[in-house]
């Protein structure tokens, strides 16, 4: 590389949080990459956040601690942040900026791409519709995931979201297809043992060969977190749309990402929005989450499963709130269920899959799927309401039917929701368990199910009936 052509500056005027303000610069581009060389020879990288005549504001990824206004050299690299991408990145482990962490050789780029990517043209998208069987009843039966969807896990600290994500990554299949998912895993600010959990899990299941991991740990520089998911998604886009692969992207923990965003915003002294998070956080998160889907004329797809921990388990906190406003539903984990020993502790009422309708039904799952799901929802929400009521007025002041609802609620949680970490249920098993718990209710209560399906699938009809 002809590094000599870049002018070096030693004109840092101000250092503010992760930002460095450089003076007397020549022609610098907005969003240009920057290399910093400290007086001890250490190198850091950054990018231009704002530029004017003769000055540039630079965000330093590794943070500014130890950086001095004197003796630090600033070099503008004449290009925006690009990553090398290649199929050979599967099976490899990188740091949050894409540098190999596994002692392997540097990646030989098949192509270099701007990490910000470009928005997918809405007219070029193809609507996701292929049912992914995750083997988890609460998801397959009631919050069905489809290929190309972005479906986050909303969790709380200490809840088993990593287990669930790992179980889904292991079990996810599209029925009738042999090809397995390639997994791009991006960790932002997670703990070492969590990163290790995923790594060992991928190794043990033999999946590691089709996994690319980008890891930024909790004790590593926060600003890198703003880059890591974009690295991962740039690779995912390449694999999906140039290499015809079906890619599952796991992003964890988006809460750490959002906190880094808040940090940089306050360093820039921007007007804060809710709870100190910047007003543009919605658009910023969208620039990550929208990088999922299918496209016309392309074989591959990107399915996204971001994980976030809700501060204080509060779903109205800006991070889950804005995420929910962008993603195509959410799977919510619940501390109450967890404490009662239910795994996976999925709160189905708060969970939602918006793309479910296109992925289910005859030819995809089973004809009764939609009705069964609707009925389970209606019945479980009634059961929950009555549970609250029973606490106050006592079970005896409920009607017979209402008491049956209470029994249904119990059975739903113990039989339908609850399953093992290694239990991989087919969609038929899931639906049959659904019918089994619904049969606790009087048939006249099944107002969401068409009569033909009751005739065909209701356990009482099936055991007593002719066919």
């Amino acid at each position: 590389m002809q590094t000599s052509q870049y002018v070096e500056y030693e004109t840092i005027k101000e250092i503010r949080g992760p930002l460095v303000i450089v003076e007397k610069v020549g022609s610098v581009a907005f969003d240009e990459m920057v290399e910093l060389e400290l007086s001890n020879g250490e190198k850091r990288s950054g990018r231009v956040l704002e530029v004017g005549l003769g000055y540039a504001v630079v965000q330093i990824f590794e943070g500014t601690s130890g950086v001095s206004t004197k003796g630090t050299k600033v070099k503008f690299l004449g290009k925006t942040l690009e990553v090398p991408v290649s199929e050979a990145m599967l099976g490899r482990i990188f740091d949050g900026l894409g540098r190999p962490l596994d002692g392997g050789p540097p990646v030989i780029a098949e192509e270099k791409r701007d990490i910000n990517g470009f928005p997918i043209n809405p007219a070029s998208r193809a609507y996701p519709e292929d049912f992914i069987q995750t083997g988890v009843s609460a998801i397959d039966g009631m919050n069905t995931l489809v290929r190309g969807q972005k479906l986050p896990l909303f969790s709380g600290s200490g809840l088993p979201h990593n287990m669930l994500a790992a179980q889904i990554a292991r079990q996810a299949t599209v029925r009738g297809e042999k090809e397995e998912f390639a997994v791009v895993f991006a960790a932002m600010g997670i703990k070492y043992d969590e990163a290790l959990f995923f790594r060992k899990f991928f190794e043990e299941t033999g999946a590691i060969k089709r996994v690319a991991m980008f890891i930024n740990l909790a004790d590593e520089p926060a600003m890198v977190r703003l880059i890591t998911p974009r690295m991962a998604l740039t690779l995912a886009e390449y694999l999906a749309f140039e290499r015809d692969m079906h890619v599952l992207v796991i992003l964890t923990d988006m809460t750490s990402y959002a906190e880094a965003l808040r940090e940089i915003s306050s360093a820039r002294e921007e007007v804060p929005g809710r709870q100190g998070y910047p007003g543009y956080m919605y658009s910023d998160l969208a620039s990550i989450y929208e990088r999922a889907g299918r496209a016309i004329g392309k074989k591959g797809s990107i399915t996204q499963m971001p994980i976030l921990t809700m501060p204080a388990d509060d779903i109205t906190h800006p991070i889950p709130d804005l995420t929910g406003y962008i993603t195509e539903g959410q799977v919510v984990l619940d501390r109450g269920l967890y404490n009662r020993g239910i795994y996976p502790p999925i709160n189905v009422l708060m969970s939602l899959s918006r793309l479910m309708k296109e992925g289910i039904g005859p030819g995809k799952t089973r004809e009764d799927h939609g009705d069964v799901s609707n009925q389970l929802y209606a019945a479980y929400s009634r059961a929950q309401e009555l549970r609250g009521l029973a606490v106050i007025v006592g079970e005896e002041s409920l009607t017979d039917t209402d008491r049956r609802y209470l029994r249904f609620g119990e059975a739903f949680e113990r039989r339908f929701l609850s399953q093992g970490f290694y239990e991989n249920r087919s969609i038929e098993e899931t639906l049959d368990i659904g019918w089994e718990v619904l049969s606790i209710l009087p048939e006249s209560e099944l107002t969401n199910i068409k009569d033909v399906f009751i005739q065909k699938y209701h356990p009482r009809r099936r055991s007593s009936g002719g066919s």
Binding site: P122, S124, R274, Y282, S283, L389
Partner: protein, 592 residues
């Protein structure tokens, strides 16, 4: 013409500051940098122009040139708009995909909104002949844009005089002159293509009160909280409560003639869904594919924020244009909160003084101006036309908190409020429209239409149905204290009837073939069956029959009634009458 040129002195995100651009105008479109990225001047300070750029500014450098275009952000109007999908500044997304051969929207692409290479059969007006006086809005002919939309060609604003030539019937492109108008010795060509500045409302002769319902096929809307043609409405709700599904349903089933759907800072897939579905679904009022009456604007959440801000003006200008032809236009915007956030982002970059929650202080006047562009009007020009623009905006309050600025300000400017409720959505009661907190100011407006065209008892049935729901709401509080079994018998009947209404009338599955669209007749018949049940059962209760007995004796029929919404199609409504009769009969047997 002399090119007006300045140079960039600062770049911060989508905001570019330029120096030395001669005579800049507020809201003038400027082209920025070597790549000539499109932007709009949003502030002028001495020699400096602040430009909000509609595309990513990554890689732009100070010192690069900036060009003034001399014209404000304008919308192209003419045949060829229907059926298309545009971005927030009216670039045609399908043709962008075709020309760029990329699934991504790359930068610096400039394509015209109205296709120039297509020809349309223009038929001149029979009423006009050379020598006649014509003025703005006068119809000089038409083009059949789609089998559903006869596109009336109007004399553009700013043109009037004597018609000296009009083209005979034949094929023309939108830029071909099809008529000449002379005034003061000057000859002006009239073309099918016109332009109009997006931020300026198109004029009309007179604003009228809304008179007719905008029928939607959604029972809770048409029956309880009706929209009127030319009215305004908002649909606020937390994430996942059903704003988009409701707006999609409105776009699909409304009896509007032209529908403009704006995806403003929302999901890409939601636009794809419309693009895939609308060509194959039929407008229930005309039987034609929905795409023949629909225009889409998609400036999704990951597309540039400044173009998002512009998108609703581009959309409403097109709406007014079709209104001026005499059509009833429905415009839905999903979501106005994302638009307001774009406004906030731009204001923040300009370092303007923030008001509540960082929004600029002019948020409310901008909202007012937007909703003010709705209405039923007498259009400018001859022959006389009455058209309307109905505006419905989704609102996405942070944390589903309706006291936040966008929701509270919006409330002041709209007349129909469809409040989505997170609790209802969690329990999968769809549409999750809360019937206690929602309202419509058009119930009286539309009563006459229903009485005349559907059923003279409409208002009486509606009010009875609603009062049962209101009473149930009070009783629910009491049930929480004493349990359902301790209610009085008449109150138990209220609870039971309200359950039937909630399950069998209010709930409506947007994805069920039969349930999704309920004709006005179906709505009334279902409502009548339920109100009849209540009235007849009430007589029994008053004569001492316990509700428990009524429930047991009618259970099978009630289950049938609740399922009728998705088992009985609009074409077989006698089945509801017949069910109604059977229920009445069964009840009379209990009494006897």
């Amino acid at each position: 013409m002399q090119e007006r040129k300045g140079r960039i002195i600062r770049i911060s995100g989508s905001l570019v500051v330029a120096e030395g651009l001669p005579m800049p105008q507020m809201y003038e479109v400027a082209e920025v940098g070597e790549q000539r990225l499109v932007g709009e001047i949003v502030r002028i300070d001495g020699d400096r122009s602040y430009i909000q750029v509609y595309e990513s500014t990554s890689g732009l450098r100070p010192g690069e040139p900036v060009y003034g275009t001399g014209s404000p952000l304008s919308v192209e109007l003419g045949p060829g708009l229907i059926g298309q999908i545009f971005d927030g500044i009216q670039r045609p997304l399908k043709r962008i995909a075709e020309t760029s051969k990329s699934i991504f929207v790359l930068r610096g692409i400039k394509l015209e909104a109205v296709p120039r290479d297509r020809k349309y059969v223009f038929t001149p007006s029979k009423e006009l002949k050379p020598g006649d006086k014509v003025g703005p809005g006068d119809i000089i002919g038409y083009v059949d844009e789609t089998p559903l939309i006869r596109h009336w060609i109007m004399v553009p604003h700013g043109v009037s005089g004597r018609l000296i030539e009009i083209s005979p019937e034949g094929e023309y492109s939108v830029e071909d002159p099809i008529a000449y108008v002379e005034a003061n010795g000057e000859k002006t060509a009239v073309r099918m293509l016109q332009k109009w500045p997006a931020r300026r409302p198109r004029p009309f002769k007179e604003k009228l009160e809304p008179e007719l319902p905008m029928l939607t096929g959604m029972r809770i809307l048409d029956t309880l909280f009706p929209m009127a043609k030319g009215g305004t409405g908002a649909i606020p709700g937390g994430f996942g409560t059903g704003k988009t599904v409701t707006l999609h349903s409105l776009a699909m089933w409304s009896d509007a003639r032209v529908v403009i759907y704006i995806g403003c800072g929302e999901r890409g897939n939601e636009m794809t869904e419309v693009l895939e579905k609308f060509p194959t679904y039929k407008d229930p009022w005309s039987g034609r594919p929905l795409m023949e009456r629909t225009i889409l604007i998609a400036n999704t959440s990951n597309m540039p924020v400044s173009a998002r801000e512009a998108s609703i003006y581009v959309g409403v200008t097109m709406a007014e244009y079709y209104r001026d032809m005499g059509y009833d236009v429905l415009l839905v915007a999903d979501s106005t909160s994302r638009w307001a956030e774009a406004l906030r982002e731009i204001a923040g970059r300009l370092e303007e003084m923030p008001a509540e929650e960082g929004y600029p202080s002019y948020l409310q006047s901008r909202l007012a101006e937007f909703y003010e562009r709705a209405g039923r009007v007498i259009a400018v020009g001859e022959p006389k036309r009455i058209g309307s623009v109905t505006l419905v905006g989704a609102v996405s309050p942070p944390g589903a908190d309706f006291t936040e600025p966008v929701t509270t300000h919006t409330r002041r400017f709209i007349r129909v409020f469809w409040a989505l409720d997170t609790a209802l959505a969690y329990s999968r009661h769809y549409p999750a429209i809360n019937w206690i907190t929602s309202y419509s100011a058009y119930v009286d407006t539309v009563t006459g239409w229903w009485a005349k065209n559907v059923d003279k008892d409409w208002r009486d049935l509606r009010d009875s149905l609603y009062s049962i729901l209101l009473r149930e709401n009070e009783l629910r509080e009491i049930v929480r204290l004493i349990g359902p079994e301790n209610l009085s018998e008449p109150d138990k009947l209220i609870m039971e009837t309200a359950r039937i209404i909630r399950e069998g009338f209010l709930k409506q599955n947007a994805y069920d073939k039969i349930d999704a669209f309920a004709s006005p007749q179906k709505q009334v018949k279902l409502m009548r069956a339920m109100v009849n049940f209540y009235r007849n059962a009430k007589k029994l209760v008053d004569s001492g029959v316990p509700v428990k007995v009524i429930r047991e004796k009618t259970q099978d029929l009630i289950t049938e009634l609740i399922k009728a919404r998705f088992t009985i199609p609009n074409e077989e409504l006698d089945k509801i009458d017949e069910l109604d009769r059977r229920i009445t009969e069964r009840l009379s047997q209990i009494g006897g």
